[in-house]
Amino acid sequence: MTTPVLQAKGLTKRYGRVVAIDGSDLELYPGEILAVIGDNGAGKSSLIKALSGALIPDSGEIFLDGKQVHFRTPMDARSAGIETVYQTLAVAPGLDIADNLFLGREERKPGVLGSVFRMLDRGHMRAEAKRHMSELGVATLQNIGQAVESLSGGQRQAVAVARSAAFGSKVVILDEPTAALGVKEGNRVLQLIRDVRDRGLPVILISHNMPHVFEVADRIHIQRLGRRATVITPKSHSMSEAVAIMTGAAEPPPEAAA
């Protein structure tokens, strides 16, 4: 069996007497979309935060490409190649698309202009931004110099996803990317997620939207009571069976599907 790109073993996080994650495991394999579902309070967001460096687990281990890693800040995870698209998107509405794609890792011009005058290489960044957007099939934006606030919700999501795909070298984590979108835009973003996977980046998708999860996920990690209940696939189980496992109405099957 192939090594997982990202693997968590026995992660635990307590807040006082509240146990947010209780020895949870997770495996993400190359080239797949792994959906993480779970009821409110099942610990899925804590689990994801631990993987993206936003939370330091009390115990447990995280492996990236088989090597153990210790993330203390989101920047650690980022520099290791794990990009996270937060629900709030983390875009600056007033800046344009290219600026947003490179926000926090701007490129300077070569030579004296860059080193002494700290001038940004705007031409290069715009060309790169255009390339990344069109690689993901969102080249229809008229102008890469357009302010992000003039974009629709789906377009903003596309910018955020494009940013993570452009800089994530190992894993892209998407937190509820379709939650605030209409049907049409939601479908468009699902296609984007597939495009990211097809370019070779495995994706972890956190979502409450069962139809969306069953449409794009290769495997579905069901989180319950702070630990992994099971992993199923959209082929092996139906939506109502997944919900039953998630809520505890049905016994989880043995972890054969993984």
């Binding site: 983390a90 600056a92 007033g94 926000l103 700290r118 099939g137 974009l151 596309a158």
Partner: protein
């Protein structure tokens, strides 16, 4: 599939005239202030033929210079969704410190100047520390430091004015001018214009500038995007302090003295210029070019109304009205729908 759904991402256009104007101003926030400035210049030159003379225009520029430099620092802070009530206090206190380093402590002009600028920078840095470390709202921080700096100002100066003739010539150098025909361009104005040019560049073409805008737009998003927002905020308050101190230096040249009793109105005037220039008080939106235009609007109105025979008390009334219109316009532009 990727191309079939291309139309989903088209931006919808609305054709009503008001909305188009809203979009135009949203995309080019400097247009509104520029129109106001041009209309004001045309109106005042019709009312009084003396307005457009080179002598009068150089006077307007001299009157505007100090406010413009303070407003430049203020712009940086307002872009991060902050506000600095202590701008004028830092400028005046710095000018008093420079003058006294020179006269009472007997330092050479250059040393006194550099020390004075360093003190202004430190005062800005203090604001920055209070905003980023203790996490107090900028309004409260600068309200406190405003009072403290003015009080220290009275203590240090002993409420006495230092005459320019007693100081090193470097102190009053900013008031010297280059004649261009009958237009007199002061060195202070040249410094002011160079500073605007520099910050126009720094805000638009460096990563620091992008981070200033992103932090003001949405600080949490900026943090998640990997920007060290505390560092950005601290740098902005510190740089603003330095700019205010430069403003204080130019003030000495303008008045040919260092007086502890001027500049109370500078605190609010600098905010007025920023707001008139189309920079949003809610952060993340605006430009230094707008601020320069805003400062010029204040100067042109004050001067034009004076030449038109309007009493000083009513000049304030007119500028107050302008501010209210500018802020209402900002609110309207902010509500832009796509």
């Amino acid at each position: 599939m990727a191309t079939a759904t291309a139309t989903d991402f088209e931006v919808r256009r609305n054709d009503s005239l008001g909305l188009r104007l809203q979009h135009l101003l949203h995309g080019n926030p400097v247009l509104g202030p520029l129109a106001v400035l041009i209309v004001a210049i045309i109106a005042f030159s019709i009312v009084n033929g003396r307005f457009l003379t080179a002598t009068n225009l150089s006077l307007v520029l001299q009157q505007v210079t100090v406010i413009a430099v303070l407003a430049l620092g203020q712009t940086l802070i307002i872009l991060t969704a902050g506000i600095d009530l202590s701008a004028g206090a830092i400028a005046v206190f710095s000018s008093i410190l420079m003058a006294n380093f020179c006269v009472k402590a007997g330092m050479p002009g250059f040393i006194a100047l550099v020390l004075g600028l360093a003190c202004g920078t430190a005062m800005g840095a203090l604001n920055g520390v209070l905003v980023t470390r203790i996490k107090l709202p900028p309004f409260i921080v600068t309200l406190g430091t405003l009072t403290i700096f003015f009080s220290l100002n009275s203590v240090v100066s002993n409420s006495e004015t230092v005459r320019g003739t007693d100081m090193s010539s470097l102190m009053t150098w900013t008031g010297n001018s280059i004649p261009i025909g009958s237009f007199r361009l002061t060195y202070g104005s040249i410094i002011m214009l160079l500073l605007f040019g520099y910050f126009y560049y720094a805000l638009g073409r460096t990563a620091w500038g992008k981070h200033v805008y992103a932090t003001g737009d949405d600080i949490e998003s900026a943090r998640l995007a990997g920007i060290q927002t505390s560092r950005v905020l601290f740098s902005v308050y510190t740089v603003a302090g330095l700019l205010y101190a430069v403003g204080g230096w130019i003030l000495i040249g303008r008045l040919a003295s260092a007086s502890p009793n001027v500049g109370v109105e500078y605190n609010l005037d600098s905010i007025t210029a920023v707001v008139l220039g189309g920079t949003s008080l809610f952060g993340g939106r605006g430009s230094v070019i707008g601020t320069l235009i805003g400062a010029l609007i204040v100067g042109v109105f004050r001067n034009g109304l004076q030449l038109g025979g309007v009493e000083v008390v009513w000049q304030g009334f007119a500028i107050g009205l302008l501010v209210l219109v500018a802020v209402s316009l900002d609110q309207w532009i902010r509500k832009v729908k796509t």
